[in-house]
């Protein structure tokens, strides 16, 4: 059964940035775009197991820091190879200044 997990403070993530969030033996990336909207995906690139939170956020995309695969983090879709497999995305909401993700 899914539940909402308190991941971090909304202020922990600057605009056009991502942070890594580890929970239950899994790793996620939480994003804040240039419109102050928050999103969450699996934390590792689907090409190789590189943490996406170290990559470059531009608008609604995250670019993997190792091989420059680009994903739309609002949908998880690959926009640029070498990654070929989409990311899994997770619902996010902000309540009381806290970022919650549904896992």
């Amino acid at each position: 059964m899914s539940q909402w997990i308190d991941a971090c403070s909304a202020e922990d993530i600057d605009a056009e940035e991502a942070i890594r969030f580890d929970h239950g033996g899994r790793t996620f990336a939480i994003y804040r775009n240039d419109k102050d909207e928050y999103y969450c995906t699996d934390g590792l690139c689907t090409h190789e197991d590189v943490h996406l939170a170290d990559g470059l956020v531009m608008e609604n995309t995250i670019e993997c820091p190792k091989h420059s695969s680009i994903f739309d983090f609002t949908t998880g879709e690959v926009e640029t190879p070498p990654a070929c497999e989409n990311l899994h995305t997770y619902p996010v909401k902000v309540e009381g200044g806290r970022v919650l993700i549904e896992l």
Binding site: E48, L56, E63, P65, K66, H67, S68, T80, P81
Partner: protein
């Protein structure tokens, strides 16, 4: 002495996995997140300026070569045109392949396609090949882009100064692709979904080369081939000269780019041609940093890196004796001194000794 099989399908590929060399855990100098974010920021202006300048120079030199042809006065124009075609296009291929040269994606794609054609590198295969080079840099059996294999074959290296090995390989691969196939080594890193594009690109290129050759025959002149195709041979020396310095003579089978890559300070002309790839340790550690911010990155992490070679000549003074020795002693490599402020080398039998060999 460790034998080395550079085939991606050979025993060293399995050995690299077994020895834990195929890993995402490469050493990276710690850089504050905000500073790294600033270093990774994209912009169009520097690459637009450089690309306009590059193509203007190419057109100018080609025009000079054509007008003065066949007198000897045309020679310097062809030599200059050749270096821009056969060497500068390599760095454009590289930066646009990473997607870092321009902020606007279509600009990266357009320049990448043009540069891939000039270099005779299939844009799809080499995208994945280069990704593997970054994953498994100078890991024998894994890295498809090791320029100097051991034991060193100096004749082979000399032949590549005029592109003989690379061009033959590129043409062979183009012919195989145009026939509707990809090679077994390419299949180890190229997803099947890309095969159609690889084949289509090769067929278009074959048509372009065939048209160029037909035009040369019709004109009874080598001029069309001096413009398209041959510059990949007569102009690649600068790419090769700089490219050997990237990893030549340094360690293989390690997971710390400070051990297997070399940063060389270069003159402004070479840096324009090479698009700052002389900051090679920095590039491998942080591939998302655009070429025009690599000098800033170099300054930011200098405390943790071996001192750069102060010039191309100094790089060769360091590298050449090692290449000569590697003819008979393939395990020999240069281990460069780290500054006192640096973290010790990672994953190297002599990590932390910081002594030049």
């Amino acid at each position: 002495m460790r034998s080395r099989d550079y085939s991606l399908l050979g025993p060293d590929a399995d050995r690299a996995v077994a020895e834990g060399l195929v890993t995402t855990e490469w050493y990276r100098t710690p850089v504050p997140k905000k500073q790294m974010k600033a270093l990774m920021q994209r912009a169009d202006q520097p690459a637009i300026r450089d690309t306009v300048l590059l193509f203007a120079l190419m057109i100018g030199f080609a025009a000079g070569g054509i007008v003065l042809w066949p007198s000897a006065w045309s020679l310097p124009f062809w030599l200059a045109y050749g270096v821009l075609y056969g060497s500068a296009m390599d760095s454009r291929w590289h930066e646009c392949g990473h997607g870092t040269a321009f902020r606007t994606r279509w600009m990266n794609k357009v320049v990448y396609q043009i540069a891939s054609f000039c270099m005779i590198r299939d844009p799809h295969c080499w995208k994945f090949s280069h990704a593997r080079h970054h994953s498994d840099t100078i890991i024998v059996g894994r890295d498809p882009e090791i320029a100097i294999m051991r034991p060193t074959d100096l004749l082979k290296l000399a032949a590549n100064l005029v592109g003989l090995i690379d061009v033959w390989d590129g043409l062979k691969r183009m012919a195989v692709h145009a026939s509707g196939r990809v090679l077994p080594d390419e299949a180890t890193y190229l997803p099947e979904s890309s095969h159609v594009s690889v084949i289509r690109t090769a067929r278009i290129w074959v048509l372009i080369y065939a048209a160029t050759i037909a035009l040369a025959i019709w004109m009874g002149s080598i001029l069309p081939l001096l413009l398209i195709g041959l510059p990949r041979l007569y102009g690649c020396w600068h790419m090769v000269m700089c490219g050997w310095l990237q990893h030549g003579g340094l360690a293989d089978n390690v997971t710390d780019h400070r051990l297997n890559s070399r940063t060389v300070l270069m003159n402004p002309v070479s840096r324009f041609i090479y698009w700052n790839m002389n900051y090679h340790v920095e590039h491998h550690m942080f591939p998302l940093v655009p070429y025009f911010r690599l000098p800033d990155l170099h300054r930011a992490i200098a405390f943790d890196l071996p001192a750069p070679c102060p010039s191309i000549a100094a790089g060769y003074v360091e590298m050449l004796p090692a290449l000569v020795r590697q003819q008979t002693d393939p395990d020999f490599h240069i281990r460069r001194l780290l500054p006192a402020s640096a973290s010790p080398y990672q994953g190297h039998p002599t990590a932390g000794m910081s002594a030049a060999q």
